[in-house]
Amino acid sequence: MTALSRPWNRLSLAGKIILPLVAVLIALNITLVVLWMSGLLPFLVQAILDTLGANIAILRFLLAATIILLITVPVAFMNIFFEMKLIAFVNLRIGPNRIGPWGTLASVIHGLKVLAKEDFTPRGVDVPVFTLAPAVVYLASVMTLLVVPFAPGLHGYDMDIGLLYFFAISGLGVVGLMMAGWSSFNKYSLLGGLRAAAGMISYELPLILAVMGIVLLSGTLNLNTIVQNQSGSFLDWYIFQQPLGALIFFIAATAEGSRPPFDLTEADSEIVAGFATEYSGMRFGFFFFAEYVNMFILSAMTAVLFLGGWNAPLDLAPIANALGIATPIDIALDPGSMGPGLLWLVLLAPPLIVGGLTAVIWMLKSDWSIIVSAIVAFVLFNLLVGGGVMLLLAMGIDWVMGLVWFLGKTIGLSLFFVLMRATLPRVRIDQLMGFAWKWLVPAALVNIFVTAAAIVVLHEIGRPL
């Protein structure tokens, strides 16, 4: 025993983890070889495949959940970068500009910094609750991504009660904030947690009531169906049928995501960081990850519910058809489909562009000879054409275009959230509550009533929506 325990103790932590894994791998390999030699393998594989096929829903769910968990990382980094850069722009500062091109990696470095920081637990805290709270907050925001339709056919889980699921899960976030506020054993945290509870519960109500109009109009809670109902031109988007609902939803979403001017839960100039005061390291990072993911999700939900989700604002197919272009895919595969009139452009383009590029490069880089410039220009041209063709091909696939439109709308709304943060001071807790209960809830109720009445009236006069 001692003979084994001494080298084992000398191993580093990583070694202690890796060595058993290697042992397991070797054992698995031996088992596989034995199985193959004995002829049992095909039988086993068939059984496993059958089992998986029978439970494809679970598999699909697990895969989607994993992918969505992973997606949150770049999403949060992107949002943090946009926030830093846009607020800097509003503040007449430069903002992050050192790490990566245009400072794009600054937020990644921030994430790494948070990872590297010491994660300590203050004395007096309720340790299990204190430890669980960031995970609850994070999961509550991430799990809602499961039902968000990113593009046609690209969604985590096509739930018929998607909208209900979204509100149910996002409402869990407040439990995490309360846990953090209570367990931190700090009065600032306590105030922050209670503010979170009061504010978020108040704003759940207008948030849910605001989308009731859409539920009435579309007759479904399935988010995919809601998006499909908005296809066509941008005039079919629900924002034009539910402008009041959209406004209420966006304001309530700002409060729900505790974004300025409703960020009372973490008001840094009042209660320092609210529920997050006692957190450090990655546990603190989880809260902020959750906040930025939440910002993305709320933007995404606004886009899905009111701005047509992945639908393009204009359908350009008729114009393309009139020009003799069927789809971008056709051009990429067969330039001849552009018609004889436009074909000469394609044929003339390579020499003209290469020549132009050569001239430009030669003028910019005076120490290069014209031949070197021409070679560089040719390579550059090929890269550009290759990229262009790839782009055209991608545009031909409807989920790629859908994703582009969806992300465009979502990021636009996220930037709007950031702009609000840059320009508006924070409201007070009584103003926040008064605004929710005196203005948003009645307005949302009026919205529901008017929508329902309109549906009934239009139905009666024989022109249902």
């Binding site: 840094d268 001071p425 924070r426």
Partner: protein, 406 residues
């Protein structure tokens, strides 16, 4: 609260309390010294203490305020000072009059051109010294520039304490230009050490004047930008209007001076009430407002920036030629006597009471900092408001802890 308390207190792990709200960390570990202290540190049912500072983003320095809260509503508060106390008055007594200038410099570190004027003006009054007119004009120029830079920061801080991110940086743009300008004049950016007994340390130079000219070109427009950003902002107005209303009587009883007093309608500005330097020769208004709330204080600061720009304009046009230092012996023995000087700093009436015993050292230099008295007003203004309003009220009174703690 019938269940057994289960949370361990942070102060003493042996003590079990009902909730984090019952932690008693703000209570001083010694018996109360006065009845007021005893009354303050006794909690009624449902109240809790919260310790604001000394490390807190919006206490403008190292101020600690113990708030007694009922929910989020402030019942009472007890400011605890002394975290920046250096004993400047004692230090000044132990150096000579010239040393006192640089010792007083860091008191009002946002507008140190004012705090360093205290020993200068006292000594000049005791010496019955005639300061060259050019030096007086240069002083007024430096003071008004510094006043603008301080007010620009005030506006930013007020917005920052209300949660706005941008105005502080707009304020810093203004301040940055003025500070660079004054650095060209004095050689330093924060603690200028520029005024001297009998004049100023150096004449105007080309760099200063060219920077000043550039700045004067767009100074008024900057203020318009600030106003557009904040004046009509619904949330900002909603947070500040009607908040922390100081009445005329309360302000006078609390010895508040400066913008908080003028916002209550009392046109008390030492530049007019007791003219000093060349202010009688300059034309400017003392803006007042009658509301006395945070919003009025904010608007008053904006108006004072305009008036200061107006003063600077006149000073530049009327600037006489001549020396900038009076002839004085190197070893300055100030004749015995008592003198009180007061002058208007961005935060109110700065005063100094100097006593000389005929040596080259001050016998006593009493420093009167306006923030010290303004900060007292939070005791009257804050109770009844919410925690968030505490910051808005404190920021609108614009205290600087360097001067308060001396």
């Amino acid at each position: 609260m019938t269940a057994e308390p289960r949370v361990r207190s942070l102060d003493d792990p042996e003590i079990l309390v009902h909730s984090p709200a019952a932690i008693i960390d703000a209570v001083p570990p010694y018996p109360p010294r006065t009845e007021r202290e005893a009354e303050f540190y006794t909690l009624a049912d449902g109240e809790m203490f919260i310790n604001l500072g000394p490390q807190h983003p919006s206490t403008h320095g190292v101020l600690r305020v113990v708030l007694k809260l009922d929910g989020e509503r402030v019942v009472d508060l007890d400011p605890v000072l002394g975290y920046l106390h250096r004993g400047v008055e004692k230090i000044c007594e132990n150096g000579d009059w010239h040393h006192a200038i640089s010792n007083c410099d860091p008191l009002e570190y946002i507008a140190s051109m004012f705090s360093e004027a205290m020993p200068v003006l006292v000594a000049e009054k005791l010496l019955d010294l005639d300061v060259p007119r050019r030096a007086e004009y240069i002083r007024v120029l430096a003071w008004e520039l510094n006043r603008i830079s301080s007010h620009a920061l005030f506006i930013g801080w007020l917005a920052l304490d209300l949660g706005g991110l941008t105005p502080i940086l707009y304020g810093f743009i203004e301040r940055d230009e003025i500070v660079e300008m004054l650095a060209a004049l004095t050689g330093q950016k924060l603690l200028f050490n520029y005024l001297r007994i009998g004049g100023v340390n150096g004449d105007l130079n080309h760099e200063f004047l060219s920077r000043l000219g550039d700045w004067m070109g767009h100074a008024a427009k900057r203020i318009e930008d600030q106003m557009r950003l904040m004046n009509e902002n619904e949330i900002f107005v909603g947070r500040t209007r009607g908040l922390g209303v100081l009445t005329r009587e309360t302000a006078l009883r609390t010895c508040v001076t400066g913008p908080p007093l003028r916002a209550t309608g009392v046109p008390y500005d030492v530049r007019r009430a007791h003219p000093y330097s060349v202010y009688p020769e300059l034309e400017f208004d003392i803006p007042t407002r009658t509301e006395g709330d945070s919003y009025a204080r904010y608007l008053l600061h904006l108006e004072e920036i305009r008036q200061s720009i107006h003063i600077i304009d006149q000073v530049l046009h009327q600037m006489p030629d001549g020396p900038v230092m009076a002839k004085l012996p190197r070893l300055l023995r100030v004749p015995p006597g008592r003198a009180w000087v007061a002058f208007e700093s961005p935060r109110g009436q700065y005063g100094a009471y100097g006593i000389s015993d005929g040596t080259d050292q001050p016998f006593r230099l009493r420093i009167h900092d306006p923030s010290y008295f303004t900060l007292q007003a939070v005791g009257e203004l804050v109770p009844g408001h919410l925690v968030a309003d505490t910051m808005a009220i404190m920021a609108s009174l614009d205290p600087i802890m360097g001067g308060i703690d001396k």
